[in-house]
């Protein structure tokens, strides 16, 4: 049993920009805005910030952000790798730093203009963007993240006899949550099963609505010790447990070469997460699951133990992952229907659920799982109020 981290650090404040296809401000300006907003939300001064953690792919460096927000001297600063796998890992790392006394007021952020900017996979030439395997997969025509996920999705649907109609429940549930959320890009755009089945293909078996939005936006949280959080403006949201997971012999994005590629990275992360937790899968009231592509959600539902291997297609039927169902998932609309900011809006929505302020609030929710991406080395946090 790992106890050093449990509930010792808390998220005390959060900030978010508007989410849109295009925002005029630069990524640096957006990052500064959300960090200042998070400090204001918490009731701490930006001059108290002495710790910073973000994704290794974040373009607004800690040095720049420190200048922009007028931080204190930083005594802890670090990055977590693997894009969307790393968001909860950033929060978990900051929680460890605070619990270990390495810093007192930490900020975690992501600022990204994916909507306005280029698609990473469309950059010119043949430069591999991920590890060695891309050297083989991109010249073979597996160009985009959606293609990489579709290869595993095809095998998964085939192996377990899961239909497109079952997979559609992911996109439909998150869209309904977005329809209730005025911040969501797809707030005013309902989605039906007929719409889903008629959508154009992107990479068969995945269609347009299986793929996330392309968004501009930024979000941040400010974290302090549990003791300090209880004296601040907002109710504390405790980091009950945090974990990372990188399976043996993993190849990021195209993990096609291990014995069973359908055993996704969340299985490794879940073992450590629940070993360090008083909360098991059955005790989790609401979940924010990384959803750059809809099959990732099915894999994580299995990986974090909400159902057995191959059972997620049935699990998501009959409104089970909508508010009112047995495990509401991505209650802001997630990456598919609110905004795609590498999953950071899943963290802020987790905070809202624990504060009781979501636009799709789960009544009496006391615990929330937030996960990073499948198909890359991943991470997760368990929040509690």
């Amino acid at each position: 049993m790992t106890v050093a981290l449990q509930d010792r650090a808390a998220i005390a404040g959060m900030g978010e920009t508007r989410y849109a296809k295009h925002l005029d401000d630069t990524e640096a300006a957006l990052a500064a805005r959300v960090v200042l907003d998070a400090c204001e939300d918490a009731g701490v001064s930006p001059g108290e910030i002495d710790g910073m953690v973000s994704y290794s792919v974040e373009s607004v460096l800690d040095t720049a952000l420190s200048n922009l927000v007028g931080s204190n001297d930083l005594s802890f600063f670090a990055n977590v790798g693997y894009g969307g796998g790393g968001g909860p890992g950033c929060v978990g790392l900051m929680a460890m730093a605070i619990a270990a006394g390495r810093c007192e007021v930490g900020v975690v952020w992501r600022s990204r203009k994916r909507g306005s900017g280029g698609r990473p996979w469309a950059q010119g030439g043949s430069a591999p963007l991920v590890a060695v395997a891309a050297e083989f997969t991109r010249p073979a025509g597996i160009l985009r993240p959606v293609d990489e996920v579709a290869m595993l999705a095809r095998r998964y649907l085939h192996t377990y006899g899961i239909t497109r109609e079952q997979l559609a429940n992911v996109a439909l549930a998150f869209r309904r949550h977005a329809n209730a959320n005025p911040r969501a890009t797809m707030h005013e755009r309902p989605l039906s099963l007929a719409d889903y089945l008629a959508a154009r293909w992107i990479s068969e078996p995945l269609c347009l609505f299986d793929a996330c939005l392309e968004s501009d936006g930024a979000a941040a949280v400010v974290m302090v010790s549990a003791e300090r959080a209880r004296d601040l403006r907002q109710p504390p949201v405790y980091v009950h447990a945090a974990a990372q997971g990188m399976p043996a012999r993993m190849v990021p994005q195209v993990n096609y070469f291990v014995d069973d590629p359908l055993l996704t990275p969340s299985r490794v992360c879940a073992r450590q997460l629940f070993a360090a937790s008083d909360i098991g899968p059955a005790d989790i009231d609401v979940a924010q699951i990384y959803d750059a592509f809809s099959p990732l959600v099915l894999w994580s539902l299995e990986g974090y133990g909400f159902c057995g291997q191959g059972e997620a297609g049935s699990f998501v039927e009959n409104g089970a992952i909508e508010v009112g169902g047995r495990l509401p998932v991505n209650t802001s609309g997630g990456s598919l229907s609110e905004a795609y900011v590498h999953g950071f809006n899943l963290i802020t929505e987790g905070v809202r659920q624990m504060r009781g302020t979501s636009t799709s609030q789960v009544d009496g929710a006391e615990t929330c799982l937030v996960t990073g991406s499948e198909t890359v080395p991943t991470s997760a946090i368990l929040l509690r109020r």
Binding site: A122, V132, E135, F136, A140, I142, L143, H158, Y256
Partner: protein
């Protein structure tokens, strides 16, 4: 995703950068060579300089046969870049080789040896379909990417 332009289409080609050079040298010579652990005899992919198993000795490069089954596949649709933008939709597959279990190899599925990427449609392909390796050299390519022909 690009509109027709007057310049050449940027090509997406393999890089030679060390650990996998032997793979590309072999395909250019018409042979599929994969890396194998000298201790356990297990194949692994992508190629690496040392085996992940046993005493982690340097990889053996072993020529393998060209018969296998489709483990999974995608039908790729636009928006796309490079030479692939002009041939979409196309099928590309992950193939398990009969004589190198565990070493799944990726490549486009084509109608016959030397046929273009995009020459088969998605409804001609299924998981488990038998395929044969095609290492037909294309004079426009510096290196030969394995392709799979439906049997």
């Amino acid at each position: 995703m690009t509109s027709k332009s007057t310049g050449p289409v940027p090509q997406i080609v393999p890089l030679l950068w060390g650990d996998a050079d032997e793979f590309w040298r072999a395909t250019a010579d018409g042979v599929l060579r994969l890396s194998r652990c000298p201790d356990t005899g297990r194949f692994f992919f992508p190629p690496a300089p040392a085996s992940p198993w046993g005493s982690h000795r340097p990889t053996e490069w072993v020529a393998v046969g060209g018969h296998g089954s489709i483990w999974s596949y995608v039908v790729v649709h636009p928006p796309l870049v490079g030479q692939f933008a002009e041939v979409a939709p196309y099928v590309t597959a992950l193939v398990e080789l009969d004589d190198a279990p565990g070493a799944r190899v990726v490549g486009p599925v084509v109608a016959r040896p030397g046929a273009a990427v995009g020459s088969v449609s998605g409804d001609q392909v299924h998981i488990g379909a038998r395929v044969t390796l095609d290492l037909t050299s294309d004079a426009t390519e510096a290196l030969v990417v394995p392709r799979w022909v439906l049997r």
